[in-house]
Assembly symmetry: C2
Homo-oligomer: 458 residues x 2
């Protein structure tokens, strides 16, 4: 990984094979569940980007270098274009614009780069890739889609066996809002904002803030901290909430919804991806109205959540209709960069080639090209040596790239193929020989000493 | 296709399946030939972007909305960031920066969006996708790589059977420069620039300009036009050039190189992708030094070249080493958008799902989800109906999305699956049933009346 421009990381070819493997696998899972690919343009009118009032997102504004001075004012106006800082705002605009051509409920996945002019630090980049899934309906979106997006993302993450253990934490805004109403908090929004700080400061400090800033009594604040301390891999959280002795109709709805998500994901939880009810999760963003998601990676808790989302009763609205949605967004760059930086993940080779065809002489090139083409026709990525060096040098050429097999053509006797990892060299027929399936594409190699693969974080 | 912001086209989901099919197939071909994926950041320092002096490229400059007034001057400076306008300039920078970590010769493909603040028109967009392949070496790049990139791109284009016929036109700068030297043209560069206008104005007008602007005699100008009129699918162009009676050592080198490319591609030419020597091709850009490529699409000649490139003896240089390269760049957006706009290409469905599992009652959802999961485990993209409507409505739900099969679960008897295109409904076992291979993914549908698929343009 190289970062010659702060906040704009780039990958070396062997690392890029890992990123491609991740993006491919995400796409496979999303498509198996019927999610359709959508891409939106990278730029939106500034007015659209700032519609939600989140001007702290550090938007990058675009200006044509060749713009005539009168063309566009140097000070940004509402018609100025900015690069999108997430994939939700542009998708909402896309849904409204194309509503007449879309079929609802619409399952879409969107894997694109986004840009934020933030101060770069670990886990924060100025250009990064997100992978979002959302289900959007017109007017009414049945609750089972909340379960669906959780299941699909959990399954997608579980299909990346080379990642550290992950914990998908689920909560419900109705549950916590109902609870805060049940204890008669004077300012529910202030309580939510304060509780959201639990991952950044000790519980005791949050408790003090709940009194001074959210206007709770010490007893009320204590109840809120007790609620936030509840987590469970099954629905046992329900009885623990009841044990706190707080009642409110909205709380009951929230408990029911959260139970449904946890039950729906029960079969999916594995040692690598644990799905848990975690009642400390609040998600600061105002637009979530029910289910909320966050995800922590074992050993990388300081990154914060690498996969977040939730239910929003109004993703978009065009005056005639409202479009409720539920979605979850994976920070692909935030997930992978720290693993690359620590050398924990790398591709097994820097080229797609599984085979290098050795070149005995420059005159033999046409024949070697034809042979390579026969291997390619059977799906085997193959390259021909660049120059007819001594075979020892050609083998080292393959070694440096991580190409596992070198093919030695022969004008008279049988061809031979060498596995340069074991040194084993055998006769081979170019019409039938296949490398082992796991050697056909670059593999993702994990440093097994330092990555805790089997234990979810507690 | 929708364009709510001029120059920033977006695709509807069924069109996006076509774009994905194109990008997937390009990648498969590039990787079979050992080309490795590289992505570079979207932004480069303005100084880097303008290094080649091509400020006419209409660079988009970035500025943080939240920048303090003193932070960054509103007037662009050399440290200002701009969005890349092609993939060659950033790749050259990447090669220099990472030379110590890369293995040469480096085969790379790069599929990314680029941005140009140009006036939008058909074939010209402000945001568009390019797919580039290049081979880059340190110090010396053998000529056979010129043949290689032509072959790989021709093969990649031929693997997209739903495109109109394409003509990959190859020429060689040494050939035309040698010819111009052979006729003792006073200003070779001026001749090249003028001949490059042949696709925009009649030969007669170009001939007049060769006299008035490039300082040629009428006889010299006529020779240049005769040279530019030569095209052939085989190496017969050589004797036609000789017949013009011009001699120069550089001309001989060029004739030899162009012959090698044409011979190397001989087996690849098909009725859909014709590889031709075309001696009118000059490529305006200064940095090409040998082989040059352009590509025309039948019926869409007004778009200009949709796939261009060539050999450059110095892609990049870091003082110690020079990095020669040869590459070719496909304008994916320029290729596809006109076909979408005319309704000539569309995906067979708007969702990846091959199967819709019908939902008899809401209570049956868990069972239907489990069934869907079994189909997915065998690689069949499957969704479950959103609501337990009457089966007729569920079938229409599938129809509107283009989902070919509806699965009817049964609690007692055998399950049944209906091909909603034929209406045929048969008993099916969820453990073994597979849709036909061509129905597993969305297909690309061509309007067979208007696209001339089998005739290359003349």
């Amino acid at each position: 990984m190289t970062v010659s421009l702060s906040g704009f990381p780039e990958l070396l070819p062997a690392q890029r094979t890992v990123e491609l493997a991740v993006l491919d696998q995400l796409r496979v899972t999303f498509e198996l569940h019927g999610f359709a690919s959508v891409e939106t343009r990278s730029a939106e009118p500034l007015a659209e980007l700032l519609r939600k009032g989140e001007i702290d997102k550090e938007v990058y504004v675009l200006r044509r270098l060749q713009a005539a001075p009168d063309d566009e004012p140097p000070a940004p106006s509402s018609s100025t274009l900015g690069l999108h800082y997430d994939l939700t705002v542009p998708f909402a605009r896309y849904v409204i614009e194309n509503a007449g051509h879309l079929e609802f409920p619409l399952r879409r996945y969107q894997i694109q780069k986004v840009w934020r002019g933030e101060r770069p630090q670990e886990g924060r980049y100025r250009e990064f890739t997100q992978a979002d899934i959302d289900v959007v309906a017109r007017d009414v979106l049945p609750f089972h889609h909340d379960v669906e997006v959780a299941r699909v993302m959990a399954e997608a993450l579980a299909s990346l066996p080379f990642l550290p253990a992950l914990r998908l934490q689920v909560n419900n805004r109705k549950l916590i809002e109902g609870f805060y109403r049940g204890i008669v908090a004077p300012d529910v929004a202030a309580v939510m904002r304060t509780v959201d700080k639990l991952d950044k400061m000790p519980a005791k400090a949050v408790g003090a803030l709940l009194v001074t800033e959210a206007g709770l009594s010490t007893e009320q604040a204590d109840k809120c901290l007790q609620l936030a301390a509840i987590r469970s891999a099954d629905t046992s959280f329900v009885s623990r909430v009841w044990a706190l002795g707080v009642a409110h109709p909205l709380l009951d709805v929230g408990l029911g919804e959260l139970s449904a998500v946890i039950e729906g994901c029960a079969g999916l939880s594995s040692r690598r991806v644990a799905v848990q009810a975690d009642l400390s999760i609040a998600r600061g963003l105002d637009y979530y109205t029910g289910t909320v998601f966050e995800t922590r990676m074992a050993g990388f808790e300081q990154l914060g959540s690498i996969c977040s989302g939730g239910r929003y009763d109004s993703l978009a609205s065009d005056g005639r209709s409202t479009y409720p949605g539920v979605g979850i967004s994976l920070g692909v760059t935030r997930l992978l960069m720290p693993l690359f930086q620590r050398g924990l993940l790398v591709g097994s080779r820097s080229v797609p080639s599984a085979v290098l065809v050795a070149l005995p002489t420059e005159q033999a090139r046409a024949g070697c090209d034809a042979l390579a083409q026969l291997l390619r026709a059977r799906g085997i990525p193959t390259e021909v040596a660049a120059t007819p060096q001594k075979y020892g040098k050609q083998i080292r050429y393959a070694e440096r790239r991580g190409i596992p097999f070198v093919w030695f053509p022969s004008a008279d006797g049988p061809h031979e193929v060498k596995d340069i990892r074991t040194g084993e060299q055998v006769a081979a027929d170019f019409a039938t020989w296949m490398p082992p399936a796991e050697d056909l594409r670059p593999r993702v190699l994990v440093n097994p000493v330092t990555v805790k693969r089997d234990e979810p974080p507690q």
